[in-house]
């Protein structure tokens, strides 16, 4: 399929995003957060929980006074490692057990700390490289089917039921499995620990749950002869830590949006910006594809009106990702099929939007979300809306295809719902496989006009944002009609300015290996 679009307007939008993100990046470079520091600890091998089930990385970070923490948790741990000869994991355990106090090693020279840490940092980096290589090897051996890649969610709340459901979905043809996170985990300022069997609307994201699901999918992949990808959620108060854990457990994708937490979870914007940067740097190096959350604009407000905002958010997410050293092939920008099914020619609008996104971001593995908001208890009708969504996806060459569920309005998917949903996608995408290649959009028609107006609207919005600044724009409710103040929201107290001599050895190592645009 082809659509004529105004390329100069597209270029202008990219330039605008650059100038919108630049000042935020300056802020990011000068700050860190408790979750960034905890991620550093996890990469150094700290794990487990102390008293009251508090994760060791949290105990360790909280054990330091802000002025000390401001130079980076790595520096402190490095000193302790240099003094005690313990490795970082042992050091963490000792602190959590209350046997040793991290603060007491302050006197040690920074250089000694750096040196003591170096081998552990290298070990951490090696672990990331190994996992990434592993994925590459499997993808080579177990080829995926051509996109759209069928993506389904499991969300029973119980990781073991989720595993059953995931394996069944793979047999039905799923290529990507997402374990939906328990309601509001994004608001927890720690990552829960261990295998979990209780959750609301989803299953907790824990390292052990990641491991259990990855193992099951690796097995299923071998049987299916196709590598099946695993994804979860980073966005929230623990973006960097989840990114670290996902890298270690070889997840292949992560929901990771530069503004979702701010707008849809009232998480402090500074916290989010700093966190998303380090988490994405990690994702980039681990070869994890990020998925952004533009769909959220559409589920909470009118989809026709929000289209320009969605495109603008995609440009901003792209820019933030580039700044974190992420190549286009890892930037899964989000869109969704959320226009009112009762609207005459709504299908034309959906096609216009999907094709526009496809052409504006030619190398991005676009993530296309299914109809949700207008789904009702009429499962027969819902199945049809999903079918036209499936058709739109294959016509416009979307990459990551979230299969819609006929029971979307009713419950988190049953095993049988998932099978019907995958049948739907496979039937439609097979019978209309090359339909998109067969048609040309009539110049001056409804579809072309719609695409043009969305792009124009996006450019205007980006101009307004650029003129006042991103943080101010969010404060001015430019996005999703929600108003957030720079210092309000959850997790603000977890943000701090980097003191002179601040050390984040992984950030340094990663930046050295990734190509980050100046």
């Amino acid at each position: 399929m082809e659509l004529r679009i105004d390329q100069t307007s597209v270029d202008r939008c990219r330039a605008l995003s650059g100038s919108i993100v630049a000042p935020v990046e300056a802020f990011i470079a000068a700050h860190s957060t408790v979750s960034v520091e905890r991620a550093v600890l996890r990469l150094l091998g700290l794990d487990g929980v102390g008293r009251d089930e508090i994760p060791v990385p949290n105990v360790v970070v909280e054990s330091l006074a802000t002025p000390v923490l401001a130079r980076g948790i790595a520096l402190a741990i490095g000193k302790m490692v240099a003094e005690t000869g313990l490795n970082p994991a042992q050091a963490g355990a000792a602190i959590a057990a209350g046997e040793l106090d991290l603060a007491q090693f302050g006197a040690t020279p920074d250089e000694a700390a750096r040196a003591a840490l170096a081998p552990h940092v290298e070990a951490g980096m090696r672990r990331l490289r190994e996992r990434r290589a592993e994925r590459g090897e499997r993808l080579e051996r177990l080829k995926q089917l051509p996109p759209p890649l069928l993506y389904v969610i499991v969300a029973s709340g119980n990781i073991y039921e989720d595993r059953t459901a995931a394996v069944a979905a793979v047999e039905a043809g799923a290529q990507i499995i997402a374990v939906i996170r328990s309601t509001g985990q994004s608001l927890l300022d720690f990552v829960p620990y261990g295998a979990t069997t209780e959750g609301f609307g989803g299953t907790y994201a824990t390292q052990e749950n990641f491991r259990i699901m990855r193992a099951a999918l690796d097995e299923a992949s071998e049987r299916a002869g196709r590598y099946v990808m695993l994804t979860n959620y980073a966005s929230g108060l623990c973006m960097p830590e989840i990114a670290a854990l996902a890298a270690v457990e070889r997840l292949d994708m992560l929901l990771n949006d530069s503004m979702y937490g701010i707008l849809f979870r009232d998480i402090n914007m500074k916290r989010t910006f700093v966190d998303q940067h380090f988490s994405r740097t990690l994702n980039a190096y681990s070869g994890i594809i990020i998925n952004t959350g533009e769909d959220n604009y559409l589920t909470t407000a009118d989809a026709v009106d929000q289209a320009p905002a969605v495109l603008a958010s995609q440009f901003i997410n792209e820019e933030f990702a580039h700044r974190a050293g992420m190549p286009d092939r890892q930037i899964g920008l989000g869109d969704a099929y959320e226009i009112d099914p009762g609207l005459e020619d709504g299908f034309l609008f959906q096609v216009a939007q999907a094709q526009l996104t496809r052409q504006v971001f030619p190398d991005a593995p676009l993530k296309y979300m299914p109809p949700t908001k207008h789904m009702t208890g009429d499962v027969f009708k819902g199945h049809l809306i999903d079918a036209l969504f499936n058709l739109t996806s294959v016509m416009t060459g979307q990459t990551i295809h979230l299969c819609g569920m006929l029971t979307e309005a009713i419950h988190t998917p049953f095993l049988g719902d998932r099978a019907l949903s995958i049948d739907n996608a496979r039937y439609v995408m097979n019978t209309a496989r090359h339909f998109g290649d067969e048609i040309v959009v009539k110049p001056g028609g409804t579809i072309e006009k719609r695409a043009a107006s969305v792009l124009a609207g996006c450019e205007v919005l980006l101009e307004r944002v650029a003129s006042i600044g991103l943080m101010e724009a969010i404060e001015g409710a430019f996005f999703a009609d929600v108003k957030r103040s720079p210092d309000g929201g959850r997790g603000a107290d977890g943000v701090f300015a980097r003191a002179p001599g601040y050390l984040n050895p992984f950030e340094d190592a990663l930046r050295a290996e990734l190509t980050v645009p100046a």
Binding site: A168, E171, T183, F200, G201, T300, L415, G416
Partner: protein, 252 residues
Amino acid sequence: MTQGVKPYGDTMNDGKMQLSFTLPIEWNEAADEAARQLAVNMGLVDVQVVEGRKIATGFSFFVLYASTPHSVDVDNVKASPARAHAMSMEEVDAFVAENVGRKIRVAGACIGTDAHTVGIDAILNMKGYKGDYGLERYHWFEAFNLGSQVAAEDLVRFTKEKDVDAILASQIVTQKGSDVKNFTELVELLEAEGLRDRVVLVCGGPRVTGLLAAELGYDAGFGRGTLPSEVAAFIAVTLAERLRRSGSQLFA
């Protein structure tokens, strides 16, 4: 009609219905028969297993058509009282002016960890729902929208502070009974604080029915496709009624 009503396929009282379900067994010849027997065990007759297939190792999916010998006595089915009094926004405002004589204070929230505000917003926001204005637009209502993930404690505290007349609690997530749990917590807290009888207590959400609300001890419950005016009317009428009984303008 007084006699029981049965499902209608293409003939009165044929009792026809469609069913679908998954069985955790491997599909094979016998699986279809197992599905049929399950339906028979459920008391269905003329059972036809029209589709049966493997959907995964150890799981089979079935579609059945069958007749139920059961019927329902529709005459004794009562509609929930909640939507009894249909009034337009103007009518409600006039009614309140006349029978309450002051603005009704309403506090709405999506309680527990539930963050689905679209529903409660539809009831409260100016904009409203399906062309029916929200409570904020009413002249004789003062609406407070506490938003999402509001703890029962906070909602109760707010109720006290602001002398709220009516509480609107929303629950969209129902998995594992979280909605019932949260609704119950709220009503119990109100009772503990001795506030229960001072407020018109209303719950809502796609799975809420009048019946559920009654069981939980709420004054009313609103489900799928509720319109703001229906809620406004219920609150106004109920409150006026209480005022009449107590003869005074409660804590005005």
